[in-house]
């Protein structure tokens, strides 16, 4: 049993130690001109839906949950957000080439349609990020009209 005790102590020390790693800071206070909502003059309802359901991972501004202050959760979240932004960053959307905007919108729409996004692992905690049937349809219609106008 001695080793188990030792292991427990080491684990505690490590866990305490990593708390000193600063937690995530994907919180740009400025909304850039390349932001999707700003550049495309998105209506308020849709903007709210995007903000609730997408922007936490796919923009330069995350509304962090309380547990983001706990390591190693913060590190995991940071890594996840970084990957998500590489795939799609609404804050930089207007800087994409038109051909890229088109395929991005197409992918956004099809992933919302198939309920692949927002991620189930995200909506299970962020209940207000879930898309009701009505919200989902409104969002898809709206995004499709933008896609066709490109």
């Amino acid at each position: 049993m001695k080793w188990l005790k030792r292991f427990g102590i080491v684990l505690l020390i490590v866990l305490a130690g990593i708390q000193f790693i600063p937690s995530g800071s994907n919180q740009s206070s400025e909304v850039p001109s390349t932001d999707f909502v700003k550049a495309f003059n998105i209506n308020e309802d849709i903007a709210q839906t995007l903000s609730n359901s997408c922007y936490d991972c796919h923009s330069n501004h995350t509304n962090y949950p309380w547990y983001n202050r706990v390591q190693p959760i913060s590190l995991l979240l940071e890594n996840h957000i970084e990957k998500a932004k590489e795939e799609l960053n609404f804050s930089e959307f207007a800087s994409y080439s038109t051909r890229k905007q088109k395929i991005k919108l197409k992918s956004i729409i099809s992933q919302i349609e198939k309920d692949e996004m927002p991620l189930a692992s995200y909506t299970i905690i962020h209940r207000n990020a879930r898309l009701s049937k009505e919200k989902k349809e409104a969002l898809i219609d709206y995004l499709n009209s933008i896609r066709r106008s490109l």
Binding site: S97, R99, K100, I103, K106, S110
Partner: protein, 198 residues
């Protein structure tokens, strides 16, 4: 009088535009002589000429392999062709191209690479691969118009794809084998444009 005028103007416009269109076709035929005349008899509705170039040989090879994998509904093969295409795209030398085209080429290669990457990473999700393949096909067409090609290609159109908004792909033959639907609807589509090499 006024009510009569409108249809007359419309009619003359139609006649005029038809005349202009026919003339347009003639000049194309003159360019490449007998061969294109023969082909005009088939279902090919229009044609364009691009420069002869070997700079995109590898890209076209891998694009066509990818297309044929999708025709066969083979998602795994599509993924591996997507990877080879991604590699071929990353080797494309933009700086060797005319300066005036470099910005657009940069955007095309960038987008095509991202599409190819998605295709390579989504083995087993053939619908997702096909979505990116459609965007990729437009990239390839635009690329070839700017850089040229080493072979004749056919731009083929499927009006049903993408909720009936339609989509194009490039093929090495005029025979229709639909990569968007595979065995589900293999024959859907028609050749829209012949892309010939000067």
């Amino acid at each position: 009088m006024n009510t009569m005028k409108k249809p007359m103007i419309l009619l003359s416009l139609v006649i005029f535009s038809w005349g202009a269109f026919a003339q347009h076709d003639h000049s194309k035929m003159g360019h490449s002589g007998m061969e294109s005349k023969k082909k005009d008899k088939s279902s090919v509705s229009s044609s364009i000429e691009v420069e002869h170039s070997k700079s995109v040989t590898n890209i076209i090879d891998n694009y066509l392999a990818l297309k044929n994998a999708l025709v066969e509904d083979n998602s795994k093969k599509a993924a591996s062709s997507g990877k080879s295409l991604y590699d071929a795209l990353s080797k494309f030398n933009i700086s060797a191209q005319p300066k005036s085209n470099q910005k657009e080429l940069g955007e095309i290669i960038d987008n095509a690479s991202e599409n190819a990457e998605h295709i390579s990473e989504n083995s087993g999700k053939i619908d997702h691969q096909r979505e990116h393949f459609e965007s990729l096909s437009t990239d390839l067409k635009d690329l070839i118009v700017l850089t040229g090609s080493d072979r004749t290609l056919y731009q083929t159109y499927c009006p049903m794809y993408n909720n009936s908004e339609g989509g194009i792909w490039l093929s090495e033959t005029t025979g229709i084998k639909n990569p968007f639907y595979g065995s589900q609807m293999l024959k859907c589509g028609s050749v829209q444009q012949e892309i010939m090499v000067k």
